[in-house]
Amino acid sequence: MASIIKFENICKNFKVPQKAEGRFKMIKNFFCRKHRIIEALKDVSFSIQEGEIVGYIGPNGAGKSTTIKIMSGILTPTSGTCVIDGLVPWQNRKTFVKNIGVVFGQRSQLWWDVPVIDSFELLKDIYKIPDDKYKETLQLLNSALNIEDLLGRPLRQLSLGQKMKCELAASLLHRPKILFLDEPTIGLDAITKLAVRDFIKYINKEWGTTIILTTHDMNDIEALTNKIILIGKGRILYQGSFEKIKEKYSDEKTIEVEFAKDYNKVSLAGYKVIEHNLRFATLKTLPNTKFHTTDFINQISKKYEVVDFQVSSLSVDEILAKLYKEYEL
């Protein structure tokens, strides 16, 4: 498989006027502005293979949206090269955008006061989609996203989740090779979220669409992506499979224990007691402890009378929070 997206040493600086404090400085500032350079992306390089679903993650303000915007041709980087599907996005904008679809989760691409289907028809004209192909795609989108009933209604009457489904459909009418999703599940309820995820997977499988998505919902990442790219403070910190990261933290377990009687003090070698309340205690593995259930039962039952216990690994969110902390983001 060939790499469809190549990002090499991309830097993006923004020049922003600097605010000054104090009355006189403000007046001075009004006439002569000082600017500050913000480095949104610093030497970012990565490549994405055709047909991959890539999760692009990082804390707020890390540069995720900036990267998406460069990839979709909206922004021009300060330096570096980017070739997507053989084209430089910001140079041949009109040719380039024919093959991409974009959903910015917080913005809308559909027309506000007309029925959704009218917006679709217009997009059909704009992308010059042949009639038969349009019909086929629309039918497929209708059945996969279950939006048939929504199409006759004006966008302003739709709920957030309904809107998002329509937005997704709109970005796929022309069957783009590459789909950029900037927080596609933001604000969606559980059912819609699952539907959207299934749909993304489906498109990827059926059409071989390469999908790049940014999200703060780690379940999206876990459910969808084969690969993640972690960015923080404008730098790429990790790229590879999410499983690997999970493995790295998989040794860390939390154990909730219920005792048969009240104990005033609980301690166990190799474990840290996080919480203890007479009959109940929460333990955590210390960094060097390898958790093993049989060993644990033996060890704890020697000291205490145990009724029940429950072991849990770190949640994906916790793993990510740890990861961010580790990289000092």
């Binding site: 910015f104 506000w112 006061d113």
Partner: protein, 265 residues
């Protein structure tokens, strides 16, 4: 071309939904038209203006009010908002020229707005008694030239609006930008004061400037204040102006788009 036609239809449809807005527009225009007629009748009665009789003035005002939506320079709907809130980024990801897209959007909106409003005002104008009545065009030829002039006016008025779009890119203030552009265009285009009432020297200059082509010229052709031959010559000048203003707008907006930074989420 098909895509532009699609955009035009879309905006046209969207605008047609706002019927209450159109009704209130018609009411305002009728009231305003009567007010202007009484005011300028008083002026004309106490003096005279060459080649601009009271009945011509009345027709000029009624037609001006009937096609108010066409002649009044406004921002295309949403564009200002799109620029300020960053939704403009979706415009970038379509395989279509951004200036043309906005231009056609605005034309569609204006066309629909005009279509919804002009007829009742024209009909009422014709039905009003005596001195308040709208007259028929001076000749069939003048009428057709008037119609052609209105189309030119529509294209011109919106070419100016696109300059305000450019200013919005620079200032991020939609109201301020359209305020500056519309103040100039509406003043010198005869929207506030009919141009035939201005001093002759000023009129001689203004008739060659692009502002008068928006509606002043077609209205004058209708009432016979400008002859058909003169009208044709002036309109040719108007077409050149139109091309020039669109070209300037394209250049400016093209430059602004290159520098655009869409911030945030």
């Amino acid at each position: 071309m098909k895509s532009y036609w699609g955009i035009f239809k879309m905006e046209f449809k969207g605008e047609l939904q706002y019927r209450a807005k159109a009704l209130s527009g018609i009411a305002t225009q009728l009231f305003w038209g009567l007010l202007q007629i009484y005011l300028y009748t008083a002026f004309l009665n106490s003096g005279s203006v060459d080649g601009f009789s009271i009945s011509q003035m009345v027709s000029y005002i009624w037609l001006g009010q009937a096609f108010f939506a066409l002649r009044y320079v406004t921002m295309p709907k949403r564009v200002g908002k799109e620029i300020v809130n960053g939704n403009v980024c979706y415009k970038f990801v379509r395989p279509i020229n951004i200036y043309n897209q906005w231009y056609v959007e605005g034309i569609g909106q204006k066309f629909a707005a005009t279509l919804l409003r002009f007829l009742p005002i024209i009909v009422i104008g014709f039905l009003l008694p005596g001195n308040l009545s709208l007259s028929l065009p001076v000749s069939v030829g003048a009428f057709f030239l008037f119609l052609f002039g209105l189309i030119l006016g529509l294209l011109m008025s919106h070419a100016f609006a696109m300059l305000a779009v450019y200013l919005t890119f620079k200032t991020l203030s939609e109201k301020g930008s359209i305020g500056i552009v519309s103040a100039i265009v509406n003043m010198f285009g005869g929207l506030f004061i009919p141009l035939p009432l201005l001093p002759q020297a000023l009129q001689d200059v203004l008739k060659y400037l692009p502002f008068s082509f928006i509606t002043d010229l077609p209205l004058r052709i209708y009432i016979g204040n400008v002859g058909i031959v003169d009208g044709l010559v002036l309109m040719a000048i108007g077409v050149v102006w139109l091309i020039a203003i669109i070209a300037i707008g394209k250049l400016l907006i093209g430059g602004a788009l290159k520098k655009t930074v869409v911030q945030g989420g």
